[in-house]
């Protein structure tokens, strides 16, 4: 038997694809068995997924037609996509959040180009977000006013994440620096805050913001629920940010600080000009992962009944005419989240690759499996 295989091996033509397959798919008996069994499994899954997704799917028509076909009901998504993405924003004014999303996408695309990296890109992001808030609100630009209770769906998710990112980053820096300092009061406060926040689930903090916080305010004094949730998210991811940045601060060699001091820089100058720029650069990849985590975490807002993307998805399911198409709606929303998170992680990878690294240590080593 083994002789037969060996002879077969020699008889195979020396095409590139064949040598590649021999090296990467069939390099041992174990791997050959694995390749064939996993390959069959993948083919099996793929074929049923493709037939559900495309071949048996209904792209046009009503719920009755969908139920008869047995495949996915994309007609439902076409019907509901405007609501899922934009929520209750007035139909005639939907161009505003659409413009906001379009701007975010183009700025994000620009962020992938190395030649754009710099202060100008940073300020474009800030400007665009500020402008978008004014645009969605409408009052200051002389447009029809749309209340925050009508904001919803993807624009709200994006807005909360971006504001969360923008505020939690400096907040995290302050916390991390305070934790590293030798001022005992600041250090204790920051350690307490960080460990307290990181020790409890986000959802309990969101409950605190929505249920508990009003108790702590003077009578008759209310703060918008959306704003409270935003603050909760900032505090939460600020604590995680702080730990990431602390890692960067610890990675800066002592010699750097001593060198800065010896040329006469003050403490704050040393921090501002020498330590922080290097520390923040080192931790760009874990910073982006924290941001991705926060973006995903905004989906928890649905639990305290705010109209984020997850909320609009869930409430689109309660249409009595279109019952039973939850899978399609969740897959649609999952794709939106996936595209956002995946592209963010690609951006982080690109930044990581552009930084000097200590070489890819054990990459490409084969352990025989």
């Amino acid at each position: 038997m083994s002789e037969l295989i060996l002879r077969l091996h020699e008889k195979l033509p020396q095409w590139k694809s064949v040598t590649w397959a021999k090296k990467n798919l069939f390099n041992s008996i174990f791997n050959t068995i694995l390749t064939i069994s996993i390959g069959l499994l993948v083919l099996n899954i793929l074929s049923s997924v493709v037939s559900w997704f495309f071949l048996d799917a209904t792209f046009q028509g009503d719920a009755k037609l969908c139920r008869e076909s047995g495949g996915a009901c994309w007609a439902f998504i076409f019907e509901k996509s405007r609501y899922i993405i934009f929520g209750h924003y007035p139909t005639a004014l939907v161009w505003r959040p659409a413009l906001f999303i379009f701007g975010v996408i183009s700025l994000f695309g620009a962020s992938f180009k190395r030649e754009f990296w710099g202060k100008r890109l940073f300020w474009s992001w800030i400007l665009w977000l500020t402008f978008s808030i004014l645009l969605l609100d409408g009052r200051l630009l002389g447009l029809t006013h749309v209340e925050t209770t009508k904001w919803g769906g993807l624009p709200l998710t994006l807005l909360i994440s971006f504001i969360g990112i923008g505020c939690s980053y400096p907040f995290g820096i302050i916390l991390a620096v305070a934790r590293q300092s030798n001022l005992i009061v600041l250090k204790t406060l920051s350690v307490l805050f960080i460990e307290l926040i990181r020790g409890v689930p986000l959802i309990s903090i969101l409950f605190m913001a929505s249920v508990l916080f009003p108790i702590f305010l003077p009578d008759g004094f209310t703060i918008d629920k959306l704003f409270r949730a935003q603050v909760a998210i900032i505090l939460f991811s600020g604590a995680y940010m702080a730990e990431v940045i602390r890692g960067g601060l610890q990675a800066i060699p002592r010699g750097q600080v001593e060198a800065a001091k010896s040329i006469g820089l003050t403490n704050s100058q040393t921090l501002r000009l020498v330590v922080l720029p290097q520390a923040l650069r080192i931790v760009i990849p874990p910073t982006v992962s924290t941001f991705i985590g926060m973006f995903k975490d905004t989906s928890l807002l649905v639990i305290i009944a705010l109209f984020d993307l997850m909320f609009t998805t869930k409430s689109s399911l309660s249409d009595s005419e279109w019952l039973g198409f939850a899978r399609e709606a969740y897959i649609f929303t999952a794709m939106i989240y996936f595209v956002c998170c995946f592209s963010m992680s690609r951006l982080s990878k690109k930044i990581e690759e552009s930084m000097p690294s200590d070489g890819k240590k054990g990459k490409g080593v084969s352990y025989g499996f």
Binding site: L34, I38, L300, Y330, F338
Partner: protein, 374 residues
């Protein structure tokens, strides 16, 4: 400007005192508001409510619980449910994650690609969305109890959950098996240290075996049987618990896989080559050289993932599994004592994470490279 403002020590103290003052003032403001608000709304404060009747039902529970039980008991049920999810979830997540992480560094292209797709898919979709998806899939798209076909004889996968055969006298045999396992491990360790067989530690298992033979009873399996509208006998996993476990395990495993991968790749090529040149085969190099060193890199982020799974199990509240947070929410709505309920939940989660970091610190000290102070 008085001279004193130029003194660094003075400015440092001024900064610290002013921050402390602001924080203290803020707390005083919030707490005094809370006290006046609570007394105006006539909401009782303190933890006396824990001993009053809870008056709500809880879907699933290990310990005896009914709506006439106290709030304290309800919190216990919630805590036990959270611990159950954390325990089972973490075990499966570590196994699946390690498996996928190893597949990720496999030399087999197909396996590598499949695990890559898995990691990217599950990592980049919010856990909550995955939970909703699994819950809908289980509770709406599985066959109903009457139509369910058995797998492997008597396992039923239905809209109302997974039903499978289960021993009714589980506690006693498990305790005995655990005891036997621990003594076996002890023997093995002793044997490895001395390199020759020592008969003394064998005494314990022999005595134990005799004990089991005399007093123990074999496992009494019962299988689920359709009786009226539901199954009877065996054991079951409800759709809520099933969806929660499935979601948590698949999501966390993707993160653990990345940790395992980076741990394996952190080992220097030279180590592998040195092992090979000693004549070790690749799998042995992996087992004896790469894995022990990779563990040092893997364990700290791994524990934080385990903790994440435990904290994320609080998302149970969204699909209706009665975990700690869910029970606390119901209690909050029942009594209006928001401060106390949220405080209990936060303290319990906080003690989980403090306990974990304590264990972690001990582990780090034990496994740190000698001479390299952390």
């Amino acid at each position: 400007m008085p001279q004193i403002f130029y003194s660094l020590a003075f400015r440092r103290h001024l900064l610290q005192f002013s921050v402390l003052g602001i924080v203290a003032a803020l707390f005083w403001f919030l707490i005094s508001n809370a006290i006046t608000n609570l007394s105006e709304q006539r909401i009782a404060s303190g933890f006396d409510f824990l001993f009053t009747e809870a008056a709500f039902d809880i879907g699933e529970s290990f310990i005896e619980y009914s709506s006439t039980s106290s709030f304290l008991k309800a919190f216990q049920v919630g805590l036990l449910n959270t611990l159950l999810v954390a325990l089972i979830g973490n075990i499966f997540a570590v196994f699946l994650g390690t498996f996928i992480g190893m597949a990720r560094v496999s030399s087999n292209w197909l396996i590598k690609k499949v695990s890559d797709v898995y990691i990217e898919t599950f990592r980049n979709i919010p856990l909550l969305l995955q939970l909703f998806f699994w819950y809908v899939l289980i509770s709406e798209f599985l066959p109903s109890v009457r139509e369910a076909e058995p797998y492997l004889g008597s396992v039923f996968l239905t809209q109302r959950g997974l039903y499978f055969p289960f021993p009714q006298n589980i506690l006693e045999p498990t305790a005995i098996a655990l005891f036997a396992l621990i003594s076996l491990v002890m023997i093995y360790r002793k044997w490895r240290k001395s390199n020759r067989f020592d008969f003394k530690p064998l005494l314990l298992p022999v005595v134990l075996g005799a004990f089991v033979l005399i007093f123990g009873r074999p496992l009494e399996f019962t299988s689920p049987m359709l009786a009226g509208f539901n199954f009877e006998g065996g054991a079951s996993i409800t759709p809520e618990l099933g969806a929660l476990l499935l979601g948590l395990v698949l999501y966390t495993a993707a993160f653990i896989a990345e940790i395992v991968r980076s741990g394996i790749e952190s080992i220097d090529r030279g180590q592998v080559e040195a092992g090979m040149s000693l004549g070790l085969k690749p799998p042995l190099v992996f087992q004896f050289i790469v894995l022990p060193q990779a563990m040092r890199v893997v364990v700290p982020p791994l524990t934080s993932q385990l903790l994440n799974l435990t904290k994320n199990s609080s998302l149970a509240v969204a699909i209706g599994y009665p975990d700690l947070l869910n029970v606390s929410n119901t209690a909050l709505n029942q009594t209006g004592q928001a401060v106390e309920c949220i405080l209990i939940v936060m303290l319990i989660y906080l003690s989980f994470s403090l306990l974990t970091s304590l264990v972690m610190n001990i582990y780090n000290k034990k496994t740190a490279i000698p001479g390299e102070a952390r």
